[in-house]
Every structure is written in C-alpha cells, then in structure tokens.
Symmetry: D2
Subunit: 305 residues, 4 copies
C-alpha cells in the first residue's frame, strides 16, 4: 500500500516520504542558510531511494527501482532536450566495492559522438551523453577533480553526473540504497575517502551526485555493538551505567578490537561482486531511461559501444 507524507519539522527543511512497502523514497529539500547549518548539509535537494530487497536477486524489484530512479533523476535535473551530459564514474575499478561508478559508466548509453547521425524524429528523445571513469589518485597521479575540470572546460557539458560508491553509516544501507543530490560531491566522502570536490563551484556547471553505499567500516560494527549493549534494557543487568561511556573509551575499545596495523577493514556482503554488478545495471538503466526517453530498447544496441 502506497503512503505519502510531507513534513517540515525543521524550518527550511521540507521532507517528503513515499512508501510503497518495497521501496521508500525520501525527498529532502534544504531551502535556507539556517537549515543548511542545522543539517550540516548544503542547500539543495537530496533524494534517497531505499529497497532492502535489492540484497536478493529480484528482477521485478530492480526494474521498479530503476523506474523510480529515472523519475527522481529527471525531476532533479530538469534537463532541456538539447542538453549535453557528462557522466563521471568515480572510484577504483581494481577494488570491487569501489568499482560501482566505473561499472555504471560501462553500461551508460553514450551518444554525443552520434548526434550528427541520429534522425531528427529520434533526436527529441536521445540526449547528447558522454562518459568517463577517470580512475583514482593512486592510479593516475592526478586529482580526479583536476581531470574532470580539464575535460569539462573542453567539452562544455550542461550537466555533470558523478556516480560513486560510498561507505555506509549502517550495515542495513549497504547495496540497498541510492542517494541523489543536486549539490554535487563534496570533499571527504566515498569508499576511498576522496579528498576532492566535484560541484558547481569547482566545475562551473551543475553537478548531480548519485551515491550508493557499498561497504561499512569494520569500526562501525564495533561501535554498533557498543551502542546495542548500551541502549537495550535487556542487557541493563550487566551494566552499572554506560551513560557516561566517553568517546575516548569507545576509541580505546575499537583500537583494541581493530588495531591500526590492520589498515582499513571493510565489511561487505559475501556476494559483493554480484551485488555491485546488479546495482550498476539499476543505476545505468535509470540514467539511460531518464536521458533517452524515446529510445526503443530493442534497438538500443545501435547506440551502445
């Protein structure tokens, strides 16, 4: 059963929720500088599409999510028919959970080089799309933002779409959630802890970010365990009080469980290779549908590399 709800509990933060049991869509619109400060997030639109069932192979659900993504993406970008779009697949293709962006770029229908060959009647529904996976700093020796800024200055797209794998704040979100925003990518997010920003300021064109949590840090599991002990009354008989468990004590516990020498431990579902493949189909499919609404998918091969 579909439920729909709009609220504005915090002034300047409009929250709309659409829930049809399998898929929950949350649209957050931060509209004032005050709300920006309260939320710790830039003014702009944020959309989250959640579907826990994506964890299991389920083609009809994947197609539903793809359709919703196409709609939310079209709404967020509001693109003109003759816009040129540059799709950027962020992340490291050699690290499975970080390879989502490059895998989406592999499946996106690229048409910018075919514009002169597309018949006028088709053209209305086939936008000019180009795409690249620039690699990460350790592979190229160049900041991703420099590579994309250089290409953007040359190609002059009307919109950049940046796709990235994220570290989730909770295990439940891993490979079940798609996050969109029209504020671009801001420093510090991403599986590989990217330092750069990709946004209107750095590129000079609007940037829509699509992010999918694909891992959680192992420390999140440890932290969640402490919190669970702490919060559940059932375990109260073991504790004097954890009210005053200090942050420094939390760090001590985590350092004990996960020594620094282990480097960065990631938690992923066992079938992460397949899940990343599936999710890249959902995301690329949603983008293709939004950008090329008139393509007859029986003939899409004509446009695909």
């Amino acid at each position: 059963m579909l439920s729909r709800q709009t609220r504005e509990d915090i002034p300047g933060v409009k929250v709309e929720t659409i829930d049809d049991d399998d898929i929950v869509i949350t649209r957050v619109h931060i509209t004032t500088p005050e709300a920006e400060q309260i939320m710790g997030k830039r003014q702009g639109r944020y959309v989250t599409i959640e579907a826990p069932g994506l964890r299991y192979k389920n083609t009809p659900l994947q197609e539903d999510v793809m359709q919703h993504l196409a709609e939310e993406f079209a709404e967020l970008t509001g693109l003109a028919q003759n816009a040129t779009i540059l799709i950027v697949g962020l992340g490291n293709w050699n690290v499975t959970p970080d390879a989502l962006g490059p895998k989406v770029v592999d499946k996106v229908v690229v048409t910018r080089h075919l514009q002169s060959m597309i018949s006028p009647e088709l053209k209305g529904g086939v936008r000019s799309v180009c795409a690249i996976s620039p690699g990460v700093l350790g592979i190229t020796g160049m900041e991703t933002s420099d590579i994309i800024a250089g290409i953007t200055a040359r190609i002059k797209p009307d919109l950049v779409v940046a796709i990235d794998a994220l570290a989730a704040a909770s295990t439940q979100r891993v490979v079940t959630t798609i996050q969109l925003s029209n504020t671009g990518i801001n420093p510090g997010s991403g599986v590989g802890n990217k330092r750069f920003g990709l946004n209107q300021e750095s590129l000079g064109v609007p940037v829509v970010a699509i992010g999918i949590p694909t891992v959680v840090h192992a420390s999140t599991i440890a932290m969640d365990t402490i919190d669970t002990l702490h919060q559940h009354a059932a375990f109260a008989r073991y504790f004097k009080s954890m009210e005053n468990l200090t942050d420094s004590d939390r760090q001590t516990i985590i350092r004990q469980v996960l020594p620094d020498t282990l480097g960065d431990l990631m938690v992923t579902p066992k079938e992460v290779d397949r899940l990343i493949d599936d999710m890249s189909i959902v995301v690329a499919g949603g983008i293709n549908q939004a950008l090329h609404p008139n393509i007859d998918y029986e003939n899409i091969h004509m446009y695909i590399h």
Copy 2:
C-alpha cells in the same frame, strides 16, 4: 634474531616454534588418539607460517615466506622424485576473497602432459604436476569432493594438494598466515562454508591442505567487541559483572547489530584484490619450488601455460 623452541605441554602434542621476528613458524604434531580428542583435531601434522608484514607490499618478505613454505611443504609431503601431484584450487573465482585457490592454480607450473618431452637430466627435478579449479557447488551443481574423487580415480595421483581460502577466527590472521596440514580438508571450513571433506578416506590418496585466512565474519568483530569490554579492567567501572553474560545474550546482541536479513557479511582489508593476488604468488611460488627444485626459473616459461 632467530629463536627455536620445542615443547610437549599436552601429552601427544609436540609443538615446535621457530621465530625470526618477521616470520613465526609453528609445527604441531598430534600423535595419539587421546591428544586428537583433547585438541579436537585429527592426528597428523599442522604447520602455521605467520608474517604480519605480508599485509604491506614487501617483496623480500614475500620471497622469504615463499622459501619457508617450500621447505615446510617438502618436509610435510616427503615426495618421491617420480610422484604425480594433483593440485586442487578450491573456492569461487567470482568472489574475490574466495578466489585464492583458483588463482594459485593459475600460477602453478603444470608438467604432467610434458613428461615425455622433458630431458632425463632435468627430469629428476621436475615432478609430474597437474591442477584444476573445480568451482563451487552453486556453480557446478556437483559436490567438489565428487568432482575431485572422479578425477583422482582416473588420473591416480600420489598426492592431492588442496588450496583454500578460510574464514579467520581473528582479524589479525587475515592474509598474514599460511596453514598446512597433512590431514586434508575436513567438512565445514572455508569462506563458503564448504560441507565436504577432501582427505585420504574420501579420495584414497594422501591429501595435504594449504589454507589462508582471507576474511573474518562480521560477527567476529561484534564478538571481539563484547569480549574486549568484558575482559579489560579499564572498562570495569561500567559493568556490574559480565562474568555471567550468557551465550544466548551474546547471540541477541549480534542479531541486533547484524540482522539475519543482511546475509553473510564479511570483513576484508580494503586492498583485498591485491592481497589475494600477492598471496597467490607466494603460495604458487612455494609449491613450484618444492615440486620442481631443478627448474631454472629463467626457463620456467617452457613449462608454463
């Protein structure tokens, strides 16, 4: 500085330790049925090679470990010059941390089909080796033990060597430890929780197992967190007493932190793709050296597919 120690604290369990700071080798020999029962492990020899430095790219250490593995493996198998050896790479090549066995098989020098072409003077140091990665039950629809038993009955090797990725009991062991045993593989171990056994009983020939921990289950992190809280006096002020924290309470906490719906969550180092590649070179190199001591490695390409 090298230290060497031999002990027999438990009757029937001889333990020898060789420690040269970078690498610790532990040889355990279970010699009596009573010791078998106490240890919960079959009578036989167990060797562990530990080198925490393998976590970091370090070619000289890799070569040292490779050399030690070659020696321990040769010692454990005591193979005749004219023996035929079947190397089996267990695990699923589509799941990165489970792909270690197949990757080792890719790098093992296979010679069984070249025996008639090898000159007599070389032959003394080039054993007859064949190799296969059978895949996992979900890929083949056949129990791995059935596939290997069928091939063994036909090829009649003198020894089967089974290589497998394991789930570690502790994060510290992940991709830093090589475990050898002349008791083969017994049901229930492995990243994919293999159900089958590969041992002298099931195959009719001796089986040496080489296992490398490549993941820990996420629940191990949660369990370690609870134990850390429990054991460290520094946190005592928070607890009444965790002496009597029941197993059922532990399960409740873990189910809270890691709901069943998430499926099997694995913890791996972020660079697991590269670590598995590196480890497969170490293991294949050690096996190649032990089985083909006379090969001039400048000319090894003659034997490699």
Copy 3:
C-alpha cells in the same frame, strides 16, 4: 518467407532444409554405414543453424536463434523429465575466441544440487543440470577426456553436452553458425586443435556436441585468395592455366605468405570479445529453455549462481 525442403540425393543421407530468410536450418541424418563412408562423418544427426545477421548486434534475431536452438536441441536429445545432464564447456578461457564453452557454462542454469528443494509442481519442468569448464591440457596437465570421464563415472549423468569453439572452414561462418550433433566430439576439431574424443564410446553415455565457429586460420584466407584467382573467369586473362596448380605449390605459396615462425595466426572479427559474449548468451539461453521448459524466467534467479 519460409521454405522447407527434404532431399536424399545420396542414399542414406537425408537432408532437410528450413529457410526463413534470416535463419537457415539444415538437418542431416546419416543412416547407413555406406553413407557414413561417403560423408566422412559418423552415422547420426547433424543440425546447422545459420544466421549471418548474428554478426551485428540484433536482439530479436538472437532470441529467434535461441528459440530454434532450444527446439533443435530438445528434438536431438529427446530427454526424459527426470534426466540428469552434465554440460561441459570446452576450450581455454584465457584465449578470447576459445572461451565460448566456459562462457556458456557460466550462464547455464545449474539445478542438480537443488533437486531436493524444488517443489513437485515445478519439478516437471526443471531438469537436473550440472556443469563444468575443465580447462585445456596446457592449463591442467590432464586430457580433458580424462577429466570428464572421471566426473561422468562418479556423477552418472544421462547425457553429456559438450560446447566448443571451432575453427571455421570459411570466414562467412565465423560467429554466425551453430552446429549440433548427437555423435559427440571426435578428435582433431576445435580452435586449439583438441586431440581427444568425447563420445558415447569414451564416456559410456550419449554425448551431444554444440560447436560454434569463432575463428578461421589465416591460411584459409590465403587459400581462398588462390581459389578466387583460379575460379573466376574475370581473372582468366592473367593465367595460362591453374588447372594443374598442385597442392605442393599451394603449400609453398602459403608458407611464403605465412612463415611457420609466426605460429598459429587466427582471423577473427575485430569485435570478437563482444561477439563471443553475445553468442554465449544465445547458446546458454537455448539450452536453459530446452532443459527447463517450466521455469518462469522472472524467477530464474532462484536457480542461478
């Protein structure tokens, strides 16, 4: 327009042709020892499905071919509902045009290990299928026929299906033709010039072979050039007579054009990587449909690894 024709020009060789412009199916039935000798092929059924359009990305044609393959395969095998089938993907996964067999095995729906879990009403249309890609002699050190014979003796399937990439006799056939036969694989065919046989004699169970030409030898191009010069009246003015161009002269010319030192040169379409992927989908799809007629493909993920 569909045309259908049956002839028996050679006694004991029934030839039936079904031509619908896009796809030509030829069924040859060799029924007598005399015909076997004349044709240089074992008694049995041979089916060829030709669709030159497969060279171009064309999803509806691929689905048509898949459907025809399913029907011809079902007809050729005449399998009981409760039969167990072992699918064997021959060839070397490291050599793109030889990787067709392994790629088909990746996409075949494997069910043998799920038989106890399949509901009775579904079971009628879900046969017990297992599958393996054994690798090639240079990779395993074992003859493929030994590996498959060992597994067959253990698993006892009712039918073995062997899928292989072939060297074509003509460039026109490359990746446009599927060949089926109920006589199995006989020595000497295949991209890698396999020496072994996989047939009822060697395995003790019926063997259906599915072969797809994926390359031609470079020498075929040279030979075709000579023949073209030879046969076309347009070039007659250049020649005294090529009637008596000897085989030895032909060999001399080809050795000149393609020195032995070059090794084995293959001719493939530039997009061979994509064509092999596409063809593996067609073949796996046809097999899946023939073996599991009742599977609802929306739910097929339940059976797929």
Copy 4:
C-alpha cells in the same frame, strides 16, 4: 655479433642501424622539409626496435628489449630531472589487441601525487609521472584528443607519452616491434583507425609516441598472397602475365575473399592475450626505467598503486 651502420642514401634522411642478431634497432632522422616530403612522414626522429623472438616466451630477451627501449626513450625525450610526464594509454580495453596502451598504463609507476613525500636524495631519480587511459570514442562519446587536451591544459605536463596498438603492414611485425617517434600521433593510425592527432600542435607540449603492431588486417594476407604468386618465378608457369594486374582487380579479388558484410577482420597470433600482457610489461618496464633511474626496484612497491 653486434654490427652498427650509418647511412644517408636520401639527403636529409639519416639512418642508423644497430644489429646484435636478436635485436635490430633502426634510428631514422628526417631533417629537411624535402626529406619530409619524400618520406611522407613529418620531420623528426623515428626509432624501431625489432626482436622476432618476442613471439616466444623468453624472459632474458624481454629484459634486453626493455633495457634498449629505456635507452632509446631517454635519448629521444632528453628530459630534465624535474619534468612532469603524462602517459596516455590509447585504445579500447575491451578489444584484446587494442588494449596494449591501457595495460601499459596499469604498470607504469605513477609518482606525481607523491612528490611532496619523496625524500630529496631519492627525488633526483624519481620524475613526476601521471597517467590515464581515456578510452575510445565509442566508449566515451568524446574525441580522445579533446580529453587529453583538456587534461593537459589543467595539469601542464612537460611531455606527453602516447602508447598505442597499431595495425601492422606485415604479419612478421605483429608483437615483435616497438616504434618510437618524437612527432606524436598523427590522424589515421591505430588498430581502431583513430581519426585524431596527439601532437605538439594539438596539445601545446611535445608528444612522444610509442606504437606496437598487434594485428594485421585480413586483407593484408590476401594481398600478400597475390603478391607472392605474382613475384615468385616458381609460379610463372601458371601465369600469362600479372604485370598488368590492376588495383581494381586486386580489390575485386579481396572483396570476393573477404566480403564487406564480414566487417573488419583482424589477424592475430592465437596467444594474443598473453603476448599483449608480455609486451605491456616490456613497454612499461622500459618507461619506468627511463623516467625513474634511481628507483631501487625492490622498493618500487612504495610507488606503485
């Protein structure tokens, strides 16, 4: 035995040949506009390193070629210690014989992002290197020259090195020859028949091109066959005269042998996957050695992604 020869048969074209039996190096220097016109090649330096033995797995020869490549490359570029170099891997990573450039980029030691971390004593021998594989037009929708021009304008390297797989004029050259030039890449070369130029004019910085023939077109085989018939007296008895075999007749023959509908047929050695891997190690190794002469290769892992 080493032989060395210098000639200037054509005025303005200095040719130097160094032949040590296994490896032949030819250095051509076109120094005048007249010579440019006669040769049909821009003024500049052209170096060819030929080693037919590269066709066979042969590690010592590979290392020799790598060493020669390092020397010729250093000589051709004459780089300052503090130069920044951008390595560009041209070609399509999805088409095996066209994937050489991207594979070289994977193995090049990238250091530009580490400059601040490199100790001063090491710095003299570790140049600032960055690298990218931009993909091909059909994958990105952008001309490669636009992508590289955009990045170059932003990063401002002192030199661009472009690595590309080429179509050979003769089967003998396939994967046995390395071609260097300081004139960059000019339109129309490459396996995928690239249309763009990458040179000082288009990028504003010097460009060194490194090209390796990895395929021949199938039509080259047909053409070679005709020429062999034509030129060898041994076959004269078959022909009236081929003196006046017209170009149009040649085209007719080739169209007969290789119909247009077949698309672009390539001829490659059967082991092309392995040969491309081997060659990418030779080229990347040569570049690494030339650019980072002081790196201790035991510790090179510190710099490698």
